[in-house]
Symmetry: C2
Subunit: 252 residues, 2 copies
Amino acid sequence: MTETRIWTAALLVIGDEILSGRTQDRNVAQVALWLNLQGIRLVEVRVVPDVEAVIVDAVHALTAKADYLFTTGGIGPTHDDITVDAIAVALGVPVVVHPQARAVLEDYYASRGGLNEARLRMARVPEGADLIENRMSGAPGIRHGNIFIMAGVPHIAGMMLEALSGQLEGGRPLLSRTVGCMVPESEIADTLRETERDHAACQIGSYPFFRDGRVGANFVVRSTEQDALDACAEDLVARLAEVGHVATDGGI
Amino acid sequence: MTETRIWTAALLVIGDEILSGRTQDRNVAQVALWLNLQGIRLVEVRVVPDVEAVIVDAVHALTAKADYLFTTGGIGPTHDDITVDAIAVALGVPVVVHPQARAVLEDYYASRGGLNEARLRMARVPEGADLIENRMSGAPGIRHGNIFIMAGVPHIAGMMLEALSGQLEGGRPLLSRTVGCMVPESEIADTLRETERDHAACQIGSYPFFRDGRVGANFVVRSTEQDALDACAEDLVARLAEVGHVATDGGI
């Protein structure tokens, strides 16, 4: 087995609306699933308020922990949108108007009342940044080195991710295979632990559920190697059968 | 205006399933909304994997930042449930079997095949802990000082929160009032900023949306003072009218 470098990312979700419970975050799962496909592992998420000093600290901490940092939120036109300023402070660079972003916004707002001062805020970037395309609403995302600054609105963030697909250096994508079983996980905990121990290239997560008054669990096997994944999942099904439980390959 | 102490909380979401994108987190919003009602402000959330050293670091960092720390996830019976062990390490105390938790589990599993070693794992607590009631599935949550260790399954975590309602010292609940308007937020950014500036006890967040091909935004005014909140929201409606926009009190 060749040793493979593991590429890592952190996600910084910026916004009082998430911390107040007003908005249900959708970006963590979306970014995580996209990163899996790029062969990059999401190792930490932080959610912080729209406070510059707090954002700056989080950017410093997370860029030290992971190869890539993604942020969502706080890049709109209003007074509470301070992500660009905070990241510029964290990087120690000034904020500048990006000429291409300005052109994109001029074009987008030509038929929508023109570019005012608030809208021009969305052309501001930390000096040295490139743009991430946003076909949805004009205002682009921003890439500065290994930092990716994206919108908070999930479908706009999703389009920015799409624009970045295949652009980032990553390792092998993380594969998964799910085995489901109508059994309380507490009854087969030993089987899970022993199966994981005997398949070094795999991890097994156990996710219980209640459905129609019955208890069950899905066991998610994860690996970067297809052969190891399949062997582990099939072994788990066999071991569950040995202790009297019929498992469903593919999950329940 | 009397100066009021602001009570703060942090939330640590523990689980590979969130970082892999397999599970959509529901606990951040649930905990945030519950904290608002207790007069406690959620100031930071972190999501970390099922790795002891990472959990220990996060517990140290977050207990230093906030009055209360809540955790969700990793307290089940399987090998990947390591939250109790990690928090015990962070606190520098041993893990012990809590006699009352053991009794609760014995009772719960009496008609479900009995208490085995895996199930007994759910009676383990950091020494010195109290229990948080869980009427749903037997296994209790755990309170150790100002650290609250809860289940990852959202409706079980929700019941544990309910059991804690009114038990924590907090300040005044954060109140909010929403004003909606079918206007691009970039057109009235100045109005928002000036209104917020003139109402020191309030914050205004701007949350744009797209609906039926049109653009609008909800402006959420937040304050711990009802009078200040109402004055700010009404002033915002009046100022929006001055610049030609009909706003809907209560939001859109």
